[in-house]
């Protein structure tokens, strides 16, 4: 049924449809709506689940780890500082091979306190062994959350569904909320490969010597390597049932493009508009939507971008001392590609600052007029006067 829903509600509806059994969460702006709606579902019986209102995000993920180890389908949601506070347990969840799904509403980290969009929270968790899927709009959020359970349970790794603060979490748009029946067909009940069981006692996550630790880590890596293939199969099934297609990355007008944007989240929509405008002006612009960030779909990028001239990466994040994180990853991915393109990195829209189609067009022109890219990312839209005033 088509509804007008905000991104947060799209997450909650997916959790309901996925028949999640245990949810634990702690309030943090702007994630809060997600868990408020889920609380309501649990309270009014729409969802047969236990909602544990814990005293911190650290405990939220710990409780979910306990529940998932006991063989039930689980969910939590967070943002920025909450995700940073979970850091220890992000590693624990993947090391314990638990198919947990979590929504992270991308939000800036303080100081200064800032509740708006910034991708550095999730991207700085890239080495924790979580699959990361980024969403463009409300429909994408709902559908990705459903697919996330299939994906997580197929490889026994946790999945982070990432959505932009406010531009997505608090923005109302039409979302097709599917009926339960097709969802049940797509996502059958969770069949755990292992669970705490008094009838078959085992010790989970115990002390392990160097003789076996490395093999356990290698298994996580091989499971990650399995993800793109599994995702493709799951997305195909999803499309057959629901008629919507989600590739791990999407190429838009890339075939003849001279400059291709690469970005993730709602900025993808902005880029779509900018690409159309640029095309109408005779410019050969294209776009690559990055949906899956972990594992990084190296083969896809090599295939689409080899032989292209220029790529402009729009990062709403920064790895200080290096560059925008998407740009950094892309450079590494294309290093061994045949005739790799030039990669231009741009940092824009941190802490909720607007990135408009005009911003994207400006980036296009900067890229077009440059002979070769800088090593570092170029910061877009900085107020130089403010920057200078802080220097004195």
């Amino acid at each position: 049924m088509r509804q007008v829903a905000e991104g947060s509600q799209a997450v909650s509806e997916a959790v309901r449809l996925a028949k999640v059994q245990v949810i634990a969460a702690y309030p943090i702006t702007p994630q809060t709506h997600i868990v408020e709606i889920i609380s309501e579902f649990c309270s009014n019986g729409t969802l047969n689940a236990r909602f544990i209102c814990v005293e911190s995000e650290h405990s939220a993920l710990a409780a979910i780890i306990g529940a998932a180890s006991s063989g039930v389908r689980t969910f939590t949601a967070t943002s920025s500082h909450g995700l940073a506070y979970m850091h220890e347990l992000l590693h624990w969840a993947s090391g314990a091979r638990l198919p947990i799904v979590m929504a992270d509403v991308n939000r800036a980290l303080g100081p200064g306190w800032n509740i708006w969009l910034d991708q550095t929270d999730s991207l700085s968790q890239r080495d924790t062994g979580w699959i990361q899927l980024y969403c463009e709009d409300g429909q994408d959020v709902l559908d990705t959350t459903l697919m996330a359970y299939r994906l997580a349970e197929s490889v026994n790794l946790p999945v982070m569904v990432v959505l932009d603060a406010f531009f997505l979490s608090h923005t109302y748009e039409p979302v097709d909320v599917p009926d339960q029946e097709p969802v049940d067909k797509f996502l059958p009940p969770f069949l755990p490969r292992f669970q705490l069981d008094t009838g078959n006692p085992g010790a989970f996550n115990q002390f392990v010597a160097p003789q076996a630790y490395m093999e356990m880590r290698y298994n996580i890596q091989t499971a990650m390597e399995q993800v793109p293939e599994n995702y493709a199969r799951i997305a195909e099934e999803f499309e057959i049932i629901f008629g919507r297609q989600y590739n791990l990355a999407e190429a838009v007008q890339c075939a003849d493009a001279e400059i291709i944007f690469v970005t993730a989240g709602t900025t993808v929509s902005t880029c779509r508009q900018a690409v159309n405008r640029l095309r109408s002006q005779g410019e050969k612009a294209g776009l690559l939507k990055l949906k899956m960030f972990r594992p990084f779909p190296i083969d896809f990028f090599r295939q689409v971008l080899s032989g292209k001239q220029k790529v402009a990466v729009v990062d709403r994040n920064c790895s200080f001392g290096a560059s925008g994180i998407f740009a950094q990853e892309l450079r590494a991915a294309l290093y061994h590609a045949e005739s790799p393109p030039q990669i231009y990195g741009y940092i824009a829209g941190l802490g909720g600052r607007d990135v408009t189609p005009e911003t994207i067009e400006d980036i296009y022109r900067k890229t077009k007029n440059a002979d070769s890219p800088q090593t570092e990312s170029i910061w877009i839209g900085l107020d130089q006067e403010t920057v200078e005033s802080w220097r004195n």
């Binding site: 059994q21 245990v22 634990a24 047969n48 689940a49 236990r50 544990i52 209102c53 814990v54 005293e55 911190s56 650290h58 405990s59 939220a60 710990a62 409780a63 979910i64 780890i65 306990g66 529940a67 998932a68 180890s69 006991s70 063989g71 039930v72 689980t74 220890e88 347990l89 624990w92 705490l196 069981d197 008094t198 078959n200 006692p201 085992g202 010790a203 989970f204 996550n205 115990q206 002390f207 392990v208 010597a209 076996a212």
Partner: protein, 296 residues
């Protein structure tokens, strides 16, 4: 054990990694005798996480969830929620943390869990410092103890945190202290905790650590007995946070206890007198609470 109405069966197997005289190992043995095997045990980082066995071995015949240091209360809550959702209300969840995982880094998640009145038994086996990492002070370390982070003349000058009073302040259905030197009392308390199903139960076990306390391993149980006899670690129960029951009245001087352990050997006569004063104060307070509590 037949005359105590306690099973002869041991759920804790030989071959575990406890040191000789390990109080924590004795505590696990008796707790499981009382609780049986329909348990899922949650163990945060601690001596216990080593004692019960490294991969691929286990000294326990029950499922164990090892979890991160700060998380026993939360992880146990998650296990409980999952069991309930699966319709399994019979299996108990037993959280088994040391003093670090209870008094310090695990304090917040424990407080959260007991405030929610989670249907779990939360145990602190207390050896009064971080023994697994080489005897560093915790907030359970008593006044007067020398540790590797309170060395020399900087021996600990603050009191041990009163975790039982904190649990009582959460008004949980049942909280009790127990000692490895009083197995019948400990087993009875675990049986009582088991029977009080439906809410949070907390058991604070005095579990001596011969290795960390500077005592011969054969003295472990004797030291624990002296702690009770000197009223340093009274045996008592608190129901619903208000109703106190004292299980044992000691009358020995603290010196009898302190002199058995290297960790206190630096203390002067005046220091010992100071500790005696503190213990007497605490004991008097405990007796007042016991008398003030409603009866019947």
């Amino acid at each position: 054990m037949a005359q105590l109405n306690v099973t002869d069966r041991d759920y804790f197997k030989p071959g575990h990694l406890g040191c000789p005289g390990c109080g924590a190992a004795i505590a696990i043995k008796f707790a499981l005798k009382a609780l049986g095997e329909k348990i899922i045990m949650v163990i945060p980082a601690s001596c216990a996480s080593i004692i019960v066995g490294p991969y691929p071995q286990s000294a326990l015949n029950i499922p164990i969830l090892h979890t991160a240091f700060a998380t026993a209360g939360a992880a146990a809550s998650g296990v409980r929620a999952a069991l309930d959702l699966k319709g399994d209300t019979e299996t108990m969840v037993l959280s088994w943390a040391g003093d670090g995982g209870t008094f310090d880094i695990g304090f917040q998640s424990l407080s959260g869990a007991v405030e929610r009145n989670e249907d779990c038994i939360f145990v602190c086996y207390d050896n009064e410092a971080y023994m697994n990492t080489g005897v560093q002070r915790s907030s359970s370390t008593p006044y007067g103890m020398r540790t590797t982070t309170t060395p020399g003349q900087d021996w600990k000058k603050t009191r041990k945190k009163n975790i039982m009073e904190i649990m009582a302040a959460h008004r949980i259905p049942y909280a009790a202290t127990a000692s490895i030197a009083f197995p019948e009392d400990m087993i009875a308390k675990f049986q009582k905790a088991k029977a009080k199903k439906g809410g949070a139960r907390f058991i604070h076990i005095f579990a001596s650590c011969a290795t960390g306390w500077g005592a011969p391993s054969e003295m472990s149980v004797k030291i624990a007995r002296l702690a009770v006899q000197a009223n340093i670690f009274p045996l008592y129960e608190i129901e619903n946070g208000t109703r106190y029951t004292l299980n044992y009245k000691g009358n020995r001087p603290v010196e009898d206890y302190l002199k058995t352990q290297g960790r206190f050997k630096h203390l002067s006569k005046a220091d010992v007198a100071q500790i005696q004063k503190m213990v007497t104060e605490d004991w008097d307070g405990m007796c007042r609470k016991t008398e003030a509590a409603p009866t019947g």
